[in-house]
C-alpha cells in the first residue's frame, strides 16, 4: 500500500495531526478535549505514518516500543500523585504554579502531568494494537 500520493500527503499531515493532538490535549482543561482525545488523534498520526511508510520505519521514528510508552504513561500519571504527596498533601491533590507567560497568567499543575500520562498510555495502547495487527498482515 505504499503509494507515493499517500506518502506525500502523510509528510504534510503527520506534523499537522501531531500539533492538533497537542492542541486538543491542552484545550482539554477548559474546553472539550483532553488526554484521551488528544492521545487518540496523536496515535492516528502515527497510524497514518505506519500505513504510508510501514511499521518498521514508524517504530524507528517512535524510538520506543509502544509498551514502554504505556509504562512511561503510567509513570507520569503516578508522578503527579507522588508530587502531591511530596508536597505534603493527599495523593493526586492538585499542585499548581502560576507562571506569567506573554503577559497572561497560566495555570500549570499536576493534573496536567497526569493528563500527559493519559496521553502517553492512549498512544501506546493504540500503537501496540495497530502495529501488531498491521504486522500480522504482512
Amino acid at each position: 500500500m505504499k503509494s507515493v500520493i499517500l506518502q506525500t500527503a502523510t509528510r504534510l499531515l503527520f506534523p499537522l495531526l501531531l500539533i492538533f493532538s497537542v492542541f486538543l490535549f491542552f484545550r482539554g482543561h477548559n474546553e472539550p478535549g483532553g488526554g484521551f482525545i488528544g492521545g487518540l488523534v496523536g496515535a492516528a498520526a502515527f497510524v497514518l505514518f505506519a500505513v504510508a511508510f510501514g511499521t518498521e520505519i514508524t517504530r524507528k521514528l517512535l524510538r520506543m516500543d509502544p509498551r514502554v510508552m504505556v509504562g512511561w504513561g503510567l509513570f507520569f500519571a503516578l508522578l503527579s500523585g507522588i508530587m502531591s504527596m511530596m508536597a505534603g498533601d493527599s495523593f493526586f491533590t492538585g499542585q499548581w504554579v502560576f507562571p506569567i507567560l506573554f503577559g497572561s497568567e497560566l495555570h500549570v499543575g499536576t493534573p496536567l502531568i497526569f493528563d500527559i500520562g493519559v496521553y502517553l498510555v492512549v498512544v501506546g495502547f493504540t500503537l501496540a494494537v495497530i502495529f501488531a495487527l498491521e504486522e500480522e498482515d504482512n
Binding site: N30, E31, P32, F36, F125, V129, A132, L133
Partner: protein
C-alpha cells in the same frame, strides 16, 4: 425523552443478548459492544438528561451561569467507554487468535480445555464454513 431512551436501551439490551447467545464468536463480541453501548446510555439517562448547556464554565466566570448538564454521568460514561474499548480490543483480537489456533469461530467447537466425554454426542454444530470473498 427519558422514557424513549429507556425503551431504546431495552431494545439494545435484547438485541445484544440475542447476539451473545449465538455460536459465532464474532457475533458474540459484537453483541458485547452493543450491550456496552446500551449500558453507557443507561448511565447517561439515569443521570437525568438536560438539553441545556454543556458543563463548561464560560471564560471570565468562576461558576457556570446558566443551567448546565450533569457532568458526573458524562465523566463516568467517558471512563466506561474507554475501558469498554480496551476490553473490546482484547476480546476481538482474542477471537482472531482463537480462530487461528483452534481453527474455528464456532464456540461449540471450542472444546480443547474441556474435552468431550466419551460417548457424548455433539449438539447441532457448524455446517458451512467458507471463505468470505466479499
Amino acid at each position: 425523552m427519558e422514557p424513549l431512551l429507556a425503551i431504546v436501551i431495552g431494545i439494545l439490551v435484547a438485541l445484544s443478548i440475542y447476539l451473545i447467545l449465538r455460536k459465532n464468536l464474532v457475533r458474540i463480541v459484537i453483541g458485547i459492544v452493543i450491550l456496552s453501548n446500551a449500558v453507557n446510555l443507561l448511565i447517561f439517562t439515569l443521570g437525568r438528561l438536560d438539553r441545556g448547556m454543556p458543563p463548561l464554565i464560560p471564560a471570565g466566570e468562576s461558576v457556570p451561569v446558566e443551567a448546565f448538564a450533569n457532568p458526573l454521568p458524562q465523566a463516568l460514561v467517558l471512563t466506561a467507554i474507554v475501558i469498554g474499548f480496551g476490553l473490546f480490543a482484547f476480546a476481538l483480537v482474542l477471537t482472531y487468535r482463537a480462530y487461528t489456533e483452534l481453527g474455528s469461530v464456532n464456540v461449540d467447537d471450542m472444546r480443547v480445555a474441556e474435552p468431550a466425554y466419551k460417548g457424548e454426542e455433539l449438539p447441532e454444530t457448524a455446517i458451512t464454513q467458507e471463505e468470505d470473498k466479499s
